[in-house]
């Protein structure tokens, strides 16, 4: 089975019925790299921010998991604070990935993490600590980053 057919199908479904807050740029040549924009949810420190995200699909997709990387810097415990900006989602780990899982589920979960960071599965442990010890400072910092990088 060729992975491109499934990818085309999934893209078509997301185009016809988009996830709120998630905009997928049209794919012209390379259907294995999707450029996505996620809107920071209202009521979070990421509100009013637009975050550029790159969804990369391996050629073995759906047998290997996709990866999600934030191109826009974000102060978030589940996104690595380096030049990669990888978002760690449990379901995207090679050992936990299920080929039956759809990209819609993946992107919906990523959106949910913006709304509500998962402190139990964080890459940036220092941010988790700050959230626990001084939540206001975390909010302040996340807002500053949003304003600086994502507006």
């Amino acid at each position: 089975m060729s992975s491109s057919k499934r990818i085309t199908k999934e893209y078509g479904e997301l185009e016809n019925d988009p996830i709120p807050g998630v905009t997928i740029k049209p794919i012209d040549q390379d259907m294995y790299n999707w450029d996505i924009e996620m809107s920071g949810p209202a009521g979070t420190p990421y509100a009013n921010g637009t975050f550029k995200v790159r969804l990369t699909l391996p050629t073995e997709y759906p047998f290997k998991p996709p990866t999600i990387a934030f191109k826009t810097k974000i102060y978030h415990p589940n996104v690595s604070n380096d030049d990669k900006g990888n978002m760690c989602l449990g379901m995207l780990r090679t050992d936990d990935w299920k080929p039956s899982c759809k990209l819609r589920t993946v992107l919906t979960l990523a959106m949910k993490l913006l709304n509500e960071p998962d402190t139990n599965d964080a890459v940036e442990t220092s941010i988790v600590e700050q959230m626990k010890s001084n939540h206001d400072a975390y909010v302040q910092r996340a807002k500053e980053w949003t304003k600086t990088y994502a507006v």
Partner: protein, 388 residues
């Protein structure tokens, strides 16, 4: 699969590229390729996939693609026949449908292979005469369609394959003109219709509002009497000037809007400074430009109204002239009668060649009586219109 003896090798088609006529329930779709199941196989954990998909999945990971239960090829078995039948009965378009241009067949998915092999007209097959590949629809009995033969209408040489298409443009085949009914070679129909006397045409001045429609042979008569034809150049010039003004107006309005935006932005950034004043002055200029344009557009409107009024006046005058002409002719015959009567009464002898001079002399007196008559006629109801 392909053998020299079989003229029609087994058709190749991508079963996952088929178009399903109706929405297919998610339960009938494979969780891996997300298309309707092809040769469904079920795992020991009771999940179902296409045989090809689950084979590939196990090469990547020895777990179920849905619930990650450890799996091996021995844990996989053919799904119940009822499920296989269900997916094979789903209705699809023939793979040669080409967005409605090719084959129009809709059929159960399980019949696609047979259809392509035996029936589909849009499959390439070997020409029985020369082995060249042609569409099944172009086959003609057992003869080669690539041999040229003579067209029975025009004697031109065409391949059997192209003959049907040739007949739609064959110069030897005639067809009746839809206007005059004359038989005409098909390729010449457009040229003929462009000059056919019986074709329905509109007036050349239709663009400036002449509603006339009629036979082409009557259109010359119409254009000589069409008042709009005469003033068409004028009207067209007016229209283009109006269009120019509207365009200019639009440009100016955009400039005005831009400067308003610029002013608003400047207001935020700085208070009244040189730039603001400049923008304001410019805006004033534009505003007066706009007013000027508006006035001249209104003038154009008035002119155009006057023109059309003149036009109807013209037409009315024409009618009046015709009426007066008729009245004059009428009077002339009356006068003639009166003259005869007068001469007879005066007892003058009007025999022979001398008649011309006295008639000329009396015609002056006659003119007066015509005027008198005309004045009396103007008292009649139609006289009101003459005065206009």
């Amino acid at each position: 699969m392909t053998s020299a003896t079989s003229p029609n090798p087994a058709p190749v088609f991508d079963i996952r590229a088929l178009t399903y006529v109706t929405h297919v329930d998610d339960n009938l779709c494979c969780p891996i390729c997300q298309s309707p199941l092809v040769e469904p196989f079920t795992t020991s954990c009771r999940h179902t996939f296409c045989s090809e998909c689950i084979t590939n999945a196990l090469k990547a990971s020895k777990t179920c693609p849905v619930d990650r239960t450890p799996l091996d090829t021995k844990n996989i078995n053919m799904a119940p026949v009822v499920l296989a039948n269900l997916v094979n009965d789903l209705t699809v378009l023939c793979p040669n449908h080409r967005d409605g241009l090719g084959c129009t067949a809709t059929l159960p998915r399980g019949n696609v292979e047979g259809h392509l092999k035996e029936d589909c007209l849009y499959v390439t097959v070997a020409c029985p005469g020369c082995e060249e590949k042609i569409m099944r629809k172009d086959l003609q009995d057992d003869v080669c369609v690539h041999v040229e033969e003579e067209c029975s209408y025009c004697s031109g040489m065409h391949r059997k394959l192209d003959m049907k298409e040739h007949e739609t443009v064959c110069p030897g085949l005639t067809t009746p003109c839809k206007f005059c009914g004359n038989e005409c070679p098909r390729p010449q129909i457009p040229n003929h219709e462009a000059i056919c006397d019986e074709a329905i045409v509109s007036c050349d001045a239709a663009s400036v509002g002449c509603p006339w429609h009629g036979l082409r042979k009557e259109s010359t008569d119409h254009s000589t009497s069409c008042p709009l034809m005469h003033i068409r150049p004028l009207l067209e010039e007016n229209n283009s000037r109006l269009a120019n003004l509207e365009h200019e107006n639009k440009l100016l309005r955009r400039r005005l809007e831009l400067s308003l935006v610029a002013r608003a932005q400047t207001d935020i950034a700085e208070s009244m400074d040189d730039q603001t004043i400049r923008v304001l002055t410019e805006q004033e200029h534009i505003r007066s430009d706009l007013e000027r344009l508006y006035v001249s557009m209104q003038e154009m409107d008035i002119k155009q109204n006057m023109l059309s009024m003149h036009m109807s006046d013209n037409m009315r005058t024409k009618e009046e002239v015709a009426m007066i002409g008729a009245a004059v002719n009428n009077l002339r015959t009356q006068l003639h009668g009166l003259q005869l009567l007068m001469f007879r009464r005066q007892g003058l002898d009007q025999n022979g060649s001398g008649g011309a001079r006295p008639t000329g002399a009396s015609s002056q007196a006659g003119d007066n009586s015509v005027l008198g008559h005309a004045r009396r006629m103007s008292d009649m109801p139609s006289g009101d219109r003459v005065k206009l």
